[in-house]
């Protein structure tokens, strides 16, 4: 532990009572990070910054929003038209939600490719999945707040799913609604929880970073850090790299905010919610489409278990199964760089997830060149679970990995050891 002493008297005074400066020095400044991280490692800090942007814009938006069924829709339009820069804050917040999921999904896939979920980082991975679940709950409830047609009907469809739970299902749904259908009590509690959860996510991110700092970051070779020759201090190397990555991301993000702000949205949500009129196509936001496809793929009962319940279980299961990844994958080698079979199959998995998303966007009876969307969805759902539960374990046992480099520094130094 560095026994760093500070010259500034104010800094010394604070440091003696609350060692915040040496803490930051240790965790942010000198913190040893593998020297070979590529740009796929930018997405963690990027997600953190988006979280801050979402909270900042959300708090100011909350100052002008009215969580009552008779005023919610109009209050959002008031924000768009009358509140100074209201349109900007609103578009940053909605597109920020999409950005958050794009970044987190890439971050997740990075973890899957490079084996970042493997020992000793299993708990880090698990906390990450919990953060993803909290994000999904937050986004789902946030989408209800503008009280458009999609807000209302997505809330109705998803809360109705809980009726699939045997015995207590209906009571759970009534409890969630605070009434007999999605209505004002539902809107108000979603507002309360939507405001709360981001701070829960913030705390989870803190724990996530704490877990990370115990064993430090993984790296593209998957080989452990052997010594200081393998690492560089986080500052200035990764502070500048992360800031550059932030700049590049902001260009894309701001392009959507200013020039295509409704690209990720649904026109139907600009129609005020009407409990008596169901939209022609109920579609969730794009980041939920794969799970929507999985939910709708199960159309058959199994024994005494109704299809609806299996569908709900499969939908939640598709995320919960990720928690077991560290134990399903038995390979001693972390990084797909050195796992030729796993690497190919990984990309098949990614394509499968995209196909699931595409299926989720369509109605089940739509057809693609004569093939029913439902069948494609069922095949893609089957493959999703087959990949995680069967393929990954089998590949991890039978695959012959390539030879690993001795160390990180050996891998990055051309022609020999350091």
């Amino acid at each position: 532990m560095a026994a760093k002493s500070y010259s500034n008297p104010i800094v010394k005074w604070i440091e003696y009572r609350l060692p915040i400066f040496s803490f930051l020095d240790h965790e942010l400044n000198e913190y040893p990070t593998p020297r070979n991280l590529n740009y796929w490692w930018n997405f963690g800090s990027l997600a953190g910054i988006i979280l801050v942007i979402m909270i900042a814009t959300g708090i100011v938006l909350a100052m002008s929003y009215t969580p009552h069924v008779d005023y919610a829709f109009e209050s959002v339009e008031r924000i768009m038209r009358d509140v100074n820069y209201g349109w900007l804050l609103r578009y940053i917040h909605t597109n920020g939600g999409s950005a958050f999921f794009i970044v987190v999904y890439i971050h997740l896939f990075r973890g899957m490719y490079y084996g970042s979920y493997k020992a000793p980082r299993e708990l880090l991975w698990i906390i990450g999945v919990v953060i993803l679940l909290a994000m999904m709950a937050t986004a789902f409830m946030g989408y209800v707040l503008p009280w458009g047609q999609m807000s209302f009907w997505a809330a109705t469809v998803i809360t109705n799913l809980f009726s699939a739970v045997p015995l207590v299902g209906e009571s759970i749904v009534t409890w969630l609604w605070g009434g007999f259908s999605v209505d004002n009590p539902t809107l108000n509690r979603f507002y309360s929880l939507h405001y709360l959860l981001p701070f829960v996510i913030f705390a989870l991110v803190f724990v996530h970073l704490w877990a990370l700092h115990v064993h430090k970051s993984n790296n593209p070779t998957g080989v452990d850090i052997k010594g200081p020759q393998d690492t560089i201090p986080f500052h200035p190397y990764y502070t500048i790299k992360d800031t550059f990555g932030l700049g590049a991301f902001m260009i894309v993000f701001m392009f959507f905010v200013f020039f295509a702000p409704n690209f990720f949205g649904e026109p139907d949500n600009y129609i005020k919610a009407n409990p008596l009129v169901t939209p022609a196509h109920i579609v969730p936001e794009w980041y939920f489409l794969p799970y929507y496809a999985i939910l709708r793929a199960i159309t058959f009962d199994i024994w005494f278990i109704p299809a609806k319940l299996i569908g709900v279980a499969a939908m939640f299961g598709s995320i919960l199964i990720l928690l077991f990844l560290p134990w399903l994958d038995r390979s001693k080698v972390r990084s797909a760089t050195f796992r030729p079979v796993y690497k190919q199959v990984f990309w098949v998995f990614v394509v499968d997830c995209i196909i699931l998303g595409w299926v989720g966007a369509n109605t089940p009876d739509a057809e693609f060149h004569g093939i029913k969307m439902l069948w494609i969805g069922q095949a893609a759902t089957f493959y999703y679970f087959f990949h995680i539960v069967i393929l990954i374990p089998l590949i991890s046992v039978f695959e012959t990995p390539r030879a690993l480099p001795d160390s990180i520094s050996q891998a990055v130094t051309p022609g020999g050891k350091s």
Partner: protein, 188 residues
């Protein structure tokens, strides 16, 4: 290469002055641009808390004075507050103008408080702690000076709306207004 066992990159091999000043320049200029950008980005968050366009649209209230008779008082709402408009009688005007400045708690000539002596326009909020004084209706108590009386803590206002007795420190506030025509005013 350049690494030593102490780990981390070193800059040992660079020609010192040139590289260092070039890096410093790039660092300082980039940091400055970044700071400016961050400040500009924070502004919308702050400005969004300033009054919105619909609030500002109600910042002015227009009042048609034609229906108001001499000796009649009306109350209008301006920026969420009551505004007393009284068409004063000749007696009230004379009484108001005759009060010597040394008798006033908050000395102010009547002529300074009105644009047309016949029309007294003031914000109907007591300058003590914010209650609404009585005196707009004929049957209301008018206090000892013929104007308005605040029931909360007993402030008396005269026919010019000036504080004469009681805990209020200042005369009733005269809002900014102008006569759009002889019988039409815009407040605010």
């Amino acid at each position: 290469m350049s690494d030593s066992a102490t780990g981390g990159g070193t800059t040992a091999d660079m020609p010192v002055t040139d590289e260092k000043s070039r890096r410093d320049f790039l660092l300082i200029s980039t940091a400055s641009v970044g700071v400016v950008g961050t400040a500009l980005a924070c502004w919308p968050l702050i400005h969004a808390m300033n009054p919105a366009a619909d609030t500002l649209a109600l910042a002015s209230t227009e009042v048609d004075l034609a229906p108001v008779q001499t000796g009649q008082s009306i109350t209008v709402v301006w920026r969420g507050k009551p505004v007393f408009i009284r068409r004063r009688t000749a007696d009230e005007i004379k009484t108001a103008e005759a009060v010597p400045m040394d008798k006033l708690i908050d000395p102010e000539a009547d002529s300074k408080r009105v644009k047309k002596p016949e029309w007294l326009i003031m914000v109907g909020v007591c300058t003590h702690l914010g209650c609404i004084p009585l005196g707009q209706r004929p049957n209301d108590p008018h206090g000892e000076f013929g104007g308005w009386f605040c029931p909360c803590h007993g402030s008396h206002y005269d026919t010019s709306g000036r504080i004469r007795k009681g805990p209020a420190p200042k005369n009733l506030e005269v809002p900014p207004y102008q006569f759009v025509s002889d019988t039409f005013i815009r407040i605010g």
